[in-house]
Symmetry: C2
Subunit: 310 residues, 2 copies
DNA sequence: GCTGGTTATGAGCATCGCTAATGGCTTTGC
DNA sequence: GCAAAGCCATTAGCGATGCTCATAACCAGC
C-alpha cells in the first residue's frame, strides 16, 4: 500500500491533538485550507472518515484518534533519528584551513569572539600555507590569498586591503615623524613586494636607500614593527586589530597620501571615483567546494568571517 | 528541525539496503536520477555525506546506515498504522441499498459471484424501495430506477433495458405460440405501464381484451409468468438470468419485432441507426454521494455492477 | 578496447499542493 | 435578536517541487 504523504499524516496528528484544523494549521505554519485539503485527501486514500463535526469542533473518530497516536510515535521516531544524525554531524569538526599570516594577524585576535559564536562550534582550525586538495585533505573551508578565481571552488571575499604605513606610537614619537618627509630619515623595514618607492614616488620624493631590515615574510616584518625596529608598509588586514587597539598607529595619516593601493610594477591601474572603495585585486577569500555536504555550517562560518572583516 | 520529505528518507533507506541507487529506484518505482537527487538534497539538509563511492558500489557511512535502520523501523510503524487503519475501514460494511425488484431479479442470481469477488467483501445489502437520505441512512451505494439525474448524486447506468415478451417454454408449447398472432389467443399478463397494445400496435394487430391477470408489480407478474400463467412484457434486466438459464424464453423471437423500446404514450421517439443500442431513457443506476469517503470501495463495487450487467 | 553496468547532473516540464478569497455555519457577546 | 468573530469547505490560480529524460563520466569484466 502506498503511504500517504508525511505532511498529511502530521496534519492529521496535529488536528487530532488540537481538536481543530485551524490550530493544527498554525502549528504546522500553513493555512487552514491546506490542512483541510490534506485531511480530505487522506480520508479518500484511507477510505474512511477521520473527523465529524459537532458544532464548531472537529471530533476525530476513535480509529482516527488511534491512528493519530501511532503516527505521533512513528513521527517522533523519525524526528529523533534525523535529529540525532544531524546532531552527530554537527559534532563532527568543521575543518577550517588558513595560512599562517591570516591565522596570526587576522584570525587570532577574533578567535575568542568566533569561538563564542555558533559558527565557531566544533572547528578544526588548520594552519597550513599550502593546500593540495580540499577533498583529499578533508578541508571544508579554506581561507586563501588570491583573486577569488579558483577553478571548481566557490569563493567569497573576506578582505579588501589597502596598504598602510604603520609603526608603534613609541617609534613615531622617538623619530619625530610628523610629515612624510620625516620617514626619509627613519629606519624603514623593507619587504620585497611592497617597496617604499611606491609611496615616495607618489610624494615625488626620492626613495631613500635601504636603511633597515628586509624580509619577504610579513609576520616577521610586523614582529619587527611591533618591537619598534622601524616603520613598514603592510596590508591593512594584517594590522586591523593592532591599529584598533593602539598597539600600532599610522603615522601622519592626515598628511600622508594613504591608504595606498598596491600596484605591481607595470600593472594597469584604472582611476576610480572613490579610491576608498577600490577593491584590491588580491585579498583573502573564503574558499570551499560547492558540493561539500556541510554547506549550512560552511555558510554560517563564512558569513561570520565576512561580517568579522567589516 | 524541519523533517525531510518521507520519500527522501525512504530513498535513503532503500539505497542503504540495496547498496545502490538504481536498485533502490527500482524498488520505489522511480528513476535512478530521482533517488540520486533526493539523497543529495538529504545530505544537504542533514549537513553530512551519507554515502561514498567505492568502485561501482555506494557504501553508506556508518551513521547513514544507522539512520537508515531507524528510518526503517519508523516507516514500518507508519506503514503498519496506516494499513491497520485502512484494513479496519475495509472491514466496515459497505452499505448497498437496492429496491426489491432489482434485488430479486437482477442481483440475487449474481449474488454468489459478487460475494466471491473482492468488491463483495463486507457488504451490507439493504432492500428498500424508498430511500430518504443517503447520508442519514448511511448508504454508500444505491441502485435506483430513474434517469440518472439525481441532484447532488453521482450516477452510473447499470442497465439499458429493452422490453421482452417472455413466457415459460412449457407455456409456449402448450399454447402453440409460433407467430405474434398466436399471442392474441393466449393468456396475457397485463401490467399498467407496459401495455400489450404497444406490441400489437406495431404489428398492426388489434389489441385483445384483457384476458389475464393485471398487476403493477413486476415481481408478481414475473412470478405468474414463471408459473405458466401467461406471457408478459417485461424489462430485459428483470429476466436476463431466467432467459440465460432457460427457465423463461422469448417466444418467436425471430418473427416478433422484439426487442421493443418502451415508449410512453405521446413520447417522442427518434429513429436510431441501431435500435439494439438505443439507450432506454429510464433504467437502473448505481448512485452515490461524490463526497463519500469510501470512494475506492464504491468504485470497485460500481465497476463490478456495471461489468455484471453486460 | 568494448560492453553493460553504475552514479552525477542539468534542462524541461507536469504535477502537486499551498495560498488567498469566499461562503456557510456556529458560537458568543451585547 | 443581531452582529461579530470564530470555525471549516471549497475553489481558482500559480509557484515550487521534483520527477523524467538525456547525457556524461566512471567502473568492472570480458
Amino acid at each position: 500500500m502506498r503511504l500517504p504523504s508525511l505532511f498529511a499524516l502530521r496534519a492529521l496528528e496535529a488536528a487530532v491533538r488540537h481538536g481543530g484544523y485551524s490550530a493544527a494549521a498554525r502549528e504546522l505554519s500553513v493555512t487552514q485550507g491546506a490542512v483541510s485539503q490534506q485531511i480530505r485527501k487522506l480520508e479518500a486514500e484511507l477510505g474512511a472518515s477521520l473527523f465529524h463535526r459537532r458544532g464548531n469542533e472537529m471530533v476525530p473518530t476513535p480509529e482516527a484518534a488511534r491512528l493519530a497516536g501511532e503516527i505521533a510515535t512513528a513521527v517522533a521516531g523519525l524526528q529523533g533519528a534525523v535529529e540525532g544524525f544531524a546532531a552527530a554531524a554537527e559534532r563532527e569538526p568543521l575543518v577550517l584551513s588558513v595560512d599562517g599570516r591570516f591565522a596570526a594577524r587576522w584570525l587570532a585576535p577574533k578567535l575568542p569572539r568566533l569561538l563564542a559564536h555558533p559558527a565557531g562550534a566544533n572547528l578544526d582550525i588548520r594552519v597550513e600555507d599550502r593546500v593540495a586538495n580540499f577533498t583529499a585533505d578533508g578541508i571544508d573551508l579554506g581561507v586563501r590569498f588570491g583573486r577569488g578565481d579558483w577553478p571548481l571552488l566557490a569563493a567569497e571575499r573576506l578582505t579588501t586591503d589597502r596598504f598602510y604605513v604603520v609603526c608603534t606610537p613609541q617609534f613615531a614619537a622617538e623619530h619625530r615623524i610628523a610629515t612624510a618627509r620625516d620617514l626619509l630619515e627613519a629606519p624603514l623595514i623593507h619587504s620585497a613586494d611592497r617597496p617604499w618607492s611606491m609611496l615616495f614616488d607618489r610624494l615625488q620624493l626620492p626613495t631613500p636607500p635601504v636603511n633597515g631590515p628586509v624580509s619577504n615574510d610579513s609576520l616577521l616584518v610586523l614582529e619587527a614593527v611591533a618591537r619598534g625596529v622601524g616603520a613598514a608598509i603592510v596590508r591593512s588586514s594584517m594590522v586591523d586589530d593592532d591599529l584598533a587597539s593602539g598597539r600600532l598607529m599610522r603615522p601622519n595619516s592626515d598628511s600622508l597620501p594613504l591608504p595606498l593601493d598596491y600596484v605591481r610594477p607595470g600593472q594597469l591601474v584604472r582611476p576610480v571615483a572613490d579610491p576608498e572603495t577600490l577593491p584590491a585585486p588580491y585579498g583573502y577569500f573564503a574558499v570551499w567546494r560547492p558540493d561539500n555536504r556541510k554547506q549550512r555550517r560552511i555558510r554560517l562560518l563564512c558569513d561570520w568571517l565576512t561580517a568579522a572583516g567589516k
